[in-house]
Assembly symmetry: C2
Homo-oligomer: 307 residues x 2
């Protein structure tokens, strides 16, 4: 067996405001892949949210080059004035999180986020807000606040006062809006689909999750909304699991299943957006089968990782 190899890996998970036209998403993926030696490990499109999420890995320097190429093309191809979708958004390249994975500190990820923000602001003339660990001001820490009212609110209100960007022009880009960039820890985007067309059920379950979280009685770090998936005629509890080491996939799934059943509704299936860490998979299965001694170290592939 070989010794430890030093490696530096960042994950970048840009969200673009296009989830219906496959050819546009594929062109953005190609632009990201072609610009530098990064590895695109997943991309998914959601027609109801009209949004796509691309997940890629690479060294920090390569991530910086690739994401700029992707955002440049997205700005060319996506016009927010013609965009309709369930999900709140302010930009063609709506939000760009970077996540330290291996051999990179959060501080380095923050520096990368700031560099990406400056690139977008200066080269593409799109105003940029920094969020999460990249935030320069307290108000920017929460993505929901920045996005409130979406592109339309920014256009009407202008980028003044609380809405002044952290870097870039102080006017909204006429078609591409603005972009949010930040560094954060691992997050799992996870949806549970219900066997009902009654969105009220999903909304009640999401509200219970938020209430538990806000009261500190459970569901720590879980963001949840109930949405109606028009294309499939079903209700969905759409979540972001932001502290997966505390509350993971199994806790969210089993909570939604129990609450839905209490209303006489079954879970149809669940779905992941993007990628997740091995630890999150192992933690969830450990809970599901009550197997305390199921740890990452028992997973052969974990033992074969080059660090």
């Amino acid at each position: 067996m070989e010794g430890v190899r030093v490696r530096r890996v960042i994950q970048c998970v840009p969200n673009f405001s296009e989830g219906r036209r496959t050819e546009i998403v594929e062109r953005i993926v190609d632009a990201i892949k072609s610009a530098a030696p990064v590895k695109v490990i997943d991309y998914s499109m959601d027609p109801d949210h009209n949004r796509s999420v691309i997940t890629f890995l690479g060294e920090p320097e390569d991530i910086r080059v690739s994401i700029l190429a992707g955002v440049r093309l997205a700005i060319d191809l996506i016009d927010l004035n013609k965009h309709e979708g369930e999900h709140p958004r302010i930009g063609a390249a709506d939000v760009i999180p970077v996540v330290p994975i291996v051999g990179v500190s959060m501080e380095e990820a923050v520096q990368l986020g700031h560099a990406i923000g400056r690139d977008i602001a200066e080269e593409l003339e799109v105003p940029v807000y920094y969020y999460e660990e990249c935030a320069l001001r307290d108000r920017c820490k929460n993505l929901a606040d920045i996005r409130k009212g979406g592109f339309e609110a920014l256009k009407v209100g202008g980028l003044v006062g609380d809405r002044a960007p952290d870097v870039g022009p102080s006017r909204v880009h006429p078609t591409a809006g603005a972009t949010v960039v930040g560094a954060r820890g691992p997050l799992i985007a996870y949806n549970v689909n219900l066997a009902t067309d009654d969105v009220a059920v999903a909304r009640r379950i999401a509200a219970k999750i938020r209430a538990l979280r806000d009261s500190g009685q459970g569901m720590a770090g879980v963001k949840a909304i109930g949405v109606y998936l028009k294309s499939r005629g079903i209700a969905q509890v759409s979540t972001n699991i932001t502290r997966p080491h505390l509350i993971g996939l199994w806790e969210v799934y089993s909570f939604v299943e129990r609450e839905a059943r209490a209303e006489g509704v079954e879970v149809l299936e669940s779905e992941l957006i993007g990628s997740l860490r091995l630890e999150a998979v192992v933690d969830a299965l450990r809970s599901a089968i009550k197997c305390e001694n199921l740890t990452q170290t028992r997973v052969i592939e974990h033992q074969l990782l080059p660090w």
Copy 2:
């Protein structure tokens, strides 16, 4: 990101007939570690079974050197005449499976198994049976048949006829018995502990698993027995999952849970022995949370493996 690196990895999972005296198991682990550059990723001791399982990874040539060192020490330290335990066994080094993991074909694993068998037979004068993919004769394919009656039956009956070893002396080693060596695919050793001291419940559930398997109506490749864990005063359904791509951890756990509940008994917990593949973890969680799009490729660590 870097290109593909060629690597050859075998997993070796020897079972030794000592599960109570920690210092003996630790000395065997040290012997394995010291003899060649292999990586011991797990070892566990079971006092009821009076048995230990060591899991290590390495290149085939290193595995061969390490396992011989471990078996040599086990033969010095373990006397089967003084051994008592739940689990059927015929040797101090009872069974030695080798499993191809990366860059090694089953044929190469079979060759390694045969080389290990010759080493033990010639250098340590212990008779060796080949099983699974290493088997030279049909009767040896099933471990249970070889082990029937254990060390005691071999001593009394002698190694003649059907019991003649595949390689090595045709008399039982006076203290170390005989050893079974073979190559096989991944197997998951998995136990579900019940909140009852009534071993009959565990035995009935195990019998149902075997009946389903033998009738081809489910539980493909699952071996199951019900045992009583004296040290804890509880009943256990002890299984080997030999075709984890067909029936995995979740199917076994949820079957046992359902059957136990039908008898008014809860599952206390479950436990793994040794290691498992990432695929087995992902498959099990996919079933548990009905998440069709949870695949290995979404696991970031999978994307960072060096091949």
